[in-house]
Symmetry: D2
Subunit: 266 residues, 4 copies
């Protein structure tokens, strides 16, 4: 695959640490509820514009935002600040690879001052030129574990299942990072890998390595689209195909036609 | 510390995999929103009765439920099933140590049939005698990273910060597991360790090991109470004390008086 | 029925008008969403303690709070203020009749200064001695329309159905008010009438008057309990009985045994 | 003003009555929470596409949906059914006047069978040709009460304030209905009047009649736009202008330029 760019947005709760302390010592359940509802709302707002948000550390989240411009970001920021007792800052960055995009998104925000400065609130900072739906693309692999219900959920203690997933997460993260791709846990036995520019053989290599280390078989459906939503939809379809015909290997890739044409032309 | 028992509940979405597939290929944002809102609601219901829920894999969550009886569980189960398009099953278990309690909670449910059986829905299964607020206790350590804003959030790229936390998570999980304690990520730079029966020296040992491996200083506030909520509140207070007077080491423990009396008597 | 007291709480969003203006001219959908979610959350908090909240004007809500003490109110107030970008003030009042209780609840708050004073925030004011679960009771009638699906929903234009319900609302409000009872719309064709001290004949009289005026048959299930939740539950059961055996008239009353004993003794 | 058309959508919870009965007698708080959250979610979905939803009877809601096509409706319906334990049916209708549009929307659905038929679920029915953003318009008046904080909120008991608003609601509904306009309560002292084709003198007439009857001064900001959201935004701006310069009467009208051009041309 040729060049192209992915746009990512860092979503940061302003001054979160000091704010949580102000809630007193009975705060923990409230904080967990707030973090979850904040994530759900932010996901709803970005995904309605074609983006997709990963919860990350909850106080710092990361979104794929190809095709979402600065005004859209401003609108989302306003809405979140109107609905919740906290404010958020946004940093937007682009890059040829996901690792680069998130670095630029972070730098955009870090140059505006510390996240704990009382006066640094509701910042919206951009590093570089944003990606339009035409000049960039998003490539996502949806990875899951074969027979995880029988082998894990119905078989081992629940916390051991958590540890297994943590292990898979850690290995995938380490291996994909070397290929400039970012791994996120998506619940159950699912992982989403933001992986612009990766080739089929590279996925195979990582999945085989990981499968060996955790003694579980992993498979992947890859989607390439103009937006996060389009890529995710194609990734789900690819994974369904792998499920349907296991003799054809453990990876399938689907590309949205407009992206295919563009990649082809270069 | 002497004997005592902790009660844990496995919360499992029934037949989740097949249900998600039925939503079609554009399902990913919806699923993330549903998982978050389901967790927020379940947290709200359990914490209003003194419990606390960890999101785990989202389709399988784990709660500390000392003092919450079978009828309370039934009521919570009903409410969740009335509010969401999915049903949940619950398995309750007790144990001297958290590892044992979660094993029993899982076994209670696993003996009722596979989580993917269409006819195994809304199960409420118990293994052993439940813990009353009088005969059990909950011990939780709240661990965080010193100066994480300056060293991590304001300093390195956001995804590298995620990887740092994943690394801390993995090390703490491995080390605490040997002491029969369970580690959960709680957002930001916070971890909660369910750790009934652990002594101060054991926390020190694990934290020192972890600190060395990730080159970051960790500290902990430990709370021991009759319920998860009471333990968490004392853990937060302990951590505030560590923050206030750093010369006194990196661990503090607070115990609710009724638990102290009981532990003393044995 | 003899004497007894009902406790009501006025829940008021602080300085709401000016705050909404600050959101700019595109605010309307956001405000509607915020109002609904605020109500849902406040309902969740009060009902988990045995109370029940009516949405009223949304910026001013009214709750039945027998058995919910000042500390409980404080806790609920804190939680709401932590979850939303607005703060709320609470006024608590008791009375032999609902009209009196809400008057006292209002007066408690109105004596603290105007709802638009920037410095009057998060007030918690009480007028008189609160009602314990033992010395008060709650009497609620659940009123609905016979055959409303066939006659209204499936039969007339939707806005005409809204107007029909508005008409029923208006007549019930006027007639019950003369008997010191408060009427609230509860969705669909349902009304809840807070009506401590009303006798069966009085319900019959009002329902017959209203039925004649709107040319629809109304029926009622009345519940008398120690808390709003208990009264509502008995009211639902009463209404189910009216539905099951229509030859026995259009009103049934069920009283929780502890309340019956107490009322009897006087 | 000349001709044009408004599009309205009836949103109906399928088989709601029987479903609520299935929840048992402790259902009331849950139902209120569900109704509010369902409304909030549906408002969020329609308003993100330029529409606006009125909660109506909660089990039957009414939305202005100019510019929202059948596929958009289908998508919204799917999302709601995925998030909640109930399903919804939608009926879409257009008309020169709001009264006509809601009649057509209702008829579209009523011809598909009773709302209580178990097999009539998730219907999406259309009566006539939908309104594009170019061939229709939306006219909304935002009405409120002068000095309502001083005269009502800070002055009279809270339930009396509810009754005052109910009275205003009832009078406005009756008077505007004769002019084929639909009135909805929007919280606080606010009413929204869907009123395509009404002239300034007609608003004046109704407002003066109502003001006299309730002994309160009413004012209105009218907005005319291509979508509900545009009309509401202009209505808010108009109302702000009335507030700013009271000597200029109690009504202002703002029209979006593209609509003005179109109305002018006819």
């Amino acid at each position: 695959l040729g060049k192209g760019c992915i746009q990512m947005t860092l979503i940061q709760i302003d001054n979160y640490g000091p704010w949580t302390l102000s809630l007193g010592s009975g705060r923990e359940p409230e904080l967990q509820i707030l973090q979850s509802e904040l994530y759900a709302d932010i996901q709803r707002l970005f995904s309605s514009k074609g983006g997709f948000v990963f919860y990350g550390r909850f106080d710092n989240m990361l979104a794929i935002t190809n095709g979402i411009n600065v005004d859209d970001h401003k609108e989302i920021q306003e809405r979140v600040c109107q609905r919740f007792p906290v404010t958020i800052s946004l940093g937007i960055g682009v890059g040829e690879y996901p690792t680069e995009a998130q670095e630029n998104a972070t730098r955009a925000l870090q140059t505006q001052g510390s996240s704990q400065l009382e006066e640094r609130r509701k910042v919206l900072a951009v590093k570089g030129q944003l990606a339009t739906v035409d000049d960039g693309f998003v490539q996502i692999a949806h990875v899951d574990v074969n027979d995880s219900t029988a082998k894990i959920t119905d078989n081992i203690p629940v916390y051991d299942a958590f540890m297994t997933m943590l292990k898979v997460h850690e290995i995938l993260t380490r291996e994909f990072r070397e290929k400039k791709a970012l791994v996120f846990f998506a619940g159950g036995d699912n992982f989403l890998v933001v992986s612009n520019g990766l080739r089929e053989a590279e996925y195979e290599e990582v999945l085989e390595t990981a499968s060996r280390q955790v003694d579980l078989e992993l498979k992947a459906g890859v989607g390439i689209g103009r937006s996060a939503i389009e890529a995710l939809e194609l990734a789900s379809q690819s994974l369904d195909r792998v499920r349907a015909s296991k003799e054809n290997g453990f990876i399938q890739i689907l590309t949205a036609p407009p992206v295919e044409n563009k990649l082809w032309r270069r």
